[in-house]
Amino acid sequence: MQLMNEGTVARVVGWEKGEGECDWTPALFESVQEMDGFVYGDYAGANLSKYCVKMNKAEGKTLVVLKPCDTLSFRQLIHEHRLNRDNFYLIGAGCKGMKDESGLLLKCKTCKGKDFEIFDEIIDDEESKQPTAIMDRMEGVTALENETAQERFDFWRNELSRCIRCNACRNVCPACTCEKCVFDNPASSVASKAPVTDFEENVFHIIRAFHVAGRCTDCGECSRVCPQHIPLHLLNRKFIKDMNELYGEYQAGVGEEERTPMTTYTKTDAEPSIVRERGNA
């Protein structure tokens, strides 16, 4: 994979091995010698798009290795003017489904597909084109929707009460690139540092999901990184499912259109009362 020599690109963002079998870490390589440590394979789960925001202002081009799903995040970040396409050389890397110590990652079990949305060069093989999805992406959301309101409430209380507000979900999220998050901003009137009450647990996750609605590519990093194992993707996917159903199929990070379902409308959109009229109470 080290076909990029110095000159064309000033640095490479990829992965290197850790102390054990599965603890690969996103890594920065700034010279050809360093590239000896470069690896790509089964444990390259992290989405490197988020690191690109930091690299956007660096001198020279940065080579970044992106999996098919990561390219969606990259494209979305271009839509949001957080990245300048010209500053990057993108290697689309084939993906056979990524793993951690306990096997195939959750996000890969509901893989969205193997197409690269944006790239300069693709390195893959036949095997990496085979679908990895083994379950329906919206299965979890649908199951919850079919429960009663009380069941849903109990489910989410149990899940969200574990939140320790470590901000891993936010900090890993390629859609969360605010210079200053409202929850960190003392002037915003809603800043908070610890989930002191149920309400603070709820509001952080509702608002975070709302802020990334339409921009979330469903890369699944939030759930992957949560040290408390909260299924955060179920919140984002709820918005994705709703938007698909109400405003037409949409995948953030695909195509040239910069508008998201939340920054556009039609005159015949569903009324908010649709929430009262459908599904289980």
Partner: protein, 147 residues
Amino acid sequence: MQMVNETGWKPKIVAFCCNWCSYAGADLAGSGRLSYPADIKIIRVPCSCRVNPLFILRAFERGADGVILCGCHPGDCHYTSGNYYARRRMTMLFSMLDYLGIERGRTRVEWVSAAEGAKFSATMNDFAKTITELGENRKLGDLRCKK
């Protein structure tokens, strides 16, 4: 007139009204002496699209039992498109609250024009009734505020 249930508990309801249609509709309800419960307090906003989901969550945090957003009818927005955005945003927010198991009836959007004083009053009465039936908001408040 105030809504009171058996325990003496009274609902707290916040109504966000856009300046051009619904706030004027509320004024018309007033000049027509069309009553609705005193538990409902109105906050004036320039347009329904000014209402941030955070405002609604904040109301619940601080002890509101219901929040209603009123704006111009779709197509009649003073700013042409504000209520269309509000409609999508609120649909998404309400759907999420429902998904989290919060009672559906606690949030509502109604389009009330400046000429619809009667509708404003009827809507508010109906909403207050719904909230009274639902009872106190226990799922989405911050208990620290109760101290």
